[in-house]
């Protein structure tokens, strides 16, 4: 019993210590962001590796999620004779929920894990230490540009995911199942609000981008500098990011749509 309490205490202390370190790390990154505007090329380079290289998985997944949504939505709506509303159903579910959430999960798997592995390996090969000894702050030079890139890329990827998803649903709904294209697009336009729906999705994706990139960079920076340590940190990035995305999605949804 004492053993159990002791290990629980140790786990608790360890967790809070890591949380504290994570927040100090974030403060350090945020302090480095103003300096990035003078050297924006560093950020652009990272937007390429974090964002552009994630495009393929986002495009393909978005297309298939949209197509499935088109099929499923049609089958349900047709029972009520409301198949003309397929466009609304698809756009609202994508823009409000699936776009930000699924693209953030994919982003954590593709870009987040790569960031953790990259930073973890830089640490284990003493590149970060080497920079410090050259009087270059690695958090400002290496970490902050990647954080900024994640923050910029995530909302764009979520928007692309939703757009491609809607096209996928249209291809299935109109091309395969015969939903009128006029009804599909006009109902979507009439019922999808810029502020209530699209902006809320954008806010979610910005928050997810912030959290996933933070977790990925912190895990890399905090990794034990061995191959096993980096491997574990990469796994933790994906798992913690998934928890954070789904948990925050509920909180954000409750905050933004709770009073409707």
């Amino acid at each position: 019993m004492i053993k159990l309490i002791r290990s629980l205490g140790r786990w608790g202390l360890g967790t809070f210590e890591r949380l504290g370190r994570g927040h100090l790390f974030l403060m350090h990154i945020l302090a480095g962001i103003p300096g990035l505007f003078l050297r924006f090329s560093l950020v652009i380079h990272q937007v390429y590796s974090v964002g552009v290289l994630s495009l393929l998985i986002i495009l393909i997944s978005g297309l298939f999620v949209g197509m499935v949504l088109g099929l499923q939505g049609y089958n349900t709506l047709v029972d009520f004779g409301a198949e003309e509303s397929l466009g609304v159903l698809v756009s609202l579910s994508l823009v409000r929920e699936l776009g930000p959430v699924v693209s953030a999960l994919l982003f954590a798997g593709r870009a987040g894990s790569a960031l953790t592995a990259e930073i973890g390996l830089m640490k284990s090969t003493e590149q970060l230490s080497g920079m410090e000894m050259m009087a270059v702050d690695p958090i400002r030079r290496v970490i902050a540009p990647r954080f900024m890139a994640g923050l910029i890329s995530m909302p764009l990827l979520a928007a692309i995911f939703s757009a491609v998803g809607i096209i996928g649903a249209f291809l299935v709904g109109h091309g395969l199942l015969g939903v009128g294209d006029g009804a599909f697009w006009s109902q979507m336009q009439a019922k999808t609000d810029f502020y209530d729906d699209i902006m809320n999705g954008v806010i979610k994706s910005v928050v997810f981008g912030f959290v996933v990139t933070w977790i990925a960079l912190f895990e890399g920076h905090d990794a034990t500098p061995t191959s096993e340590g980096v491997g574990r940190a990469t796994t933790r990035t994906v798992v913690h990011s998934a928890f954070a995305i789904l948990g925050l999605d509920f909180v954000l949804t409750a905050l933004m749509f709770g009073d409707e």
């Binding site: 830089m122 090969t125 003493e126 590149q127 230490s129 080497g130 920079m131 410090e132 000894m133 050259m134 009087a135 270059v136 702050d137 030079r141």
Partner: protein, 267 residues
């Protein structure tokens, strides 16, 4: 006045004492070696001098400044005048050899690219790798990576360089090249060099002064000749690489005979 003055240095990792009351003076313009068996905290000492770790007690002064009392920006200013060569080279793997050497110049100076090019080529020429400038770090051998790292470490014309195990894992030719380079750089650039190593022959060849570290204390110090003549058995064992002596061959524990008579451990 020595360039580096270490007084009563204490440093602990958890409960384990790495240093307990170490005093070291590193003279200007000289090559000083810090030697000792693996795991005696030689690399830790370099990290303490560079301000990457904080001592639990004692002071480290570099060029008259107490490293651990400096503000962050002053510490970074001091580091611009300190070069460090890591055991792995610590080259930035996403940059070419040329860009690695140019890195500190681009970060800390506003020199035009044409001048940076001249400086980089000069430094690479000095280590014999001017024609390897377009290679990526992954394409270099261990010895070449260390030479590139050396060119990078001297890019800002520092007052001193710290070498962390520069000879470990090198073939005889690159070992000879590195020994020669460290010696030449020190004299040609008027540097002060600190070499951390356990390669006795190579280090004794270039060192003006040697400190022997073991069990968190300085066991002996002096010129290579003085150390070779030392009456201490420990120093003789270390300098001559004898397998048994004051540092036993066997890891401490019960006698072999006792162990053989205890079959129940595996029952």
């Amino acid at each position: 006045m020595p360039l580096i003055k270490i007084r009563d240095l204490h440093f602990y990792r958890g409960n384990r004492a790495i240093f307990e009351g170490v005093n070291i003076d590193i003279e200007r313009g000289k090559v000083t070696a810090i030697m000792g068996p693996s795991g005696t905290g030689k690399t830790t000492l370099l990290k303490l001098i560079g301000g990457q770790l904080r001592p639990d007690k004692g002071t480290i002064e570099v060029d008259g400044q107490n490293v651990h009392k400096l503000s962050r920006s002053d510490l970074y200013e001091l580091r611009k005048r300190m070069g460090m060569l890591f055991q792995s080279g610590a080259l930035l793997t996403d940059l070419s050899v040329y860009d690695n050497v140019a890195f500190p110049l681009r970060e800390h100076t506003d020199l035009p690219e044409s001048m940076i090019r001249d400086l980089v080529l000069m430094k690479l020429q000095a280590v014999g790798l001017r024609n390897a400038r377009n290679l990526q770090p992954a394409e270099l051998s261990g010895g070449m990576a260390r030479r590139v790292a050396l060119a990078r470490a001297v890019a800002l014309e520092p007052m001193m360089i710290m070498y962390d195990e520069p000879f470990t894992g090198q073939d005889p030719i690159s070992m000879g090249t590195l020994v020669n380079l460290i010696h030449r750089m020190n004299d040609a650039m008027g540097l002060t060099s600190i070499v951390v190593s356990h390669d006795v022959a190579e280090t004794a060849e270039i060192a003006d002064y040697i400190y022997l570290l073991s069990g968190g204390k300085i066991i002996e110090h002096g010129s290579p000749v003085q150390l070779r003549r030392s009456g201490s058995q420990w120093v003789q064992q270390f300098m001559q690489g004898l397998p048994d002596g004051p540092v036993p061959f066997h890891y401490a524990g019960p006698e072999f005979k006792e162990d053989l008579l205890k079959p129940e451990e595996y029952a």
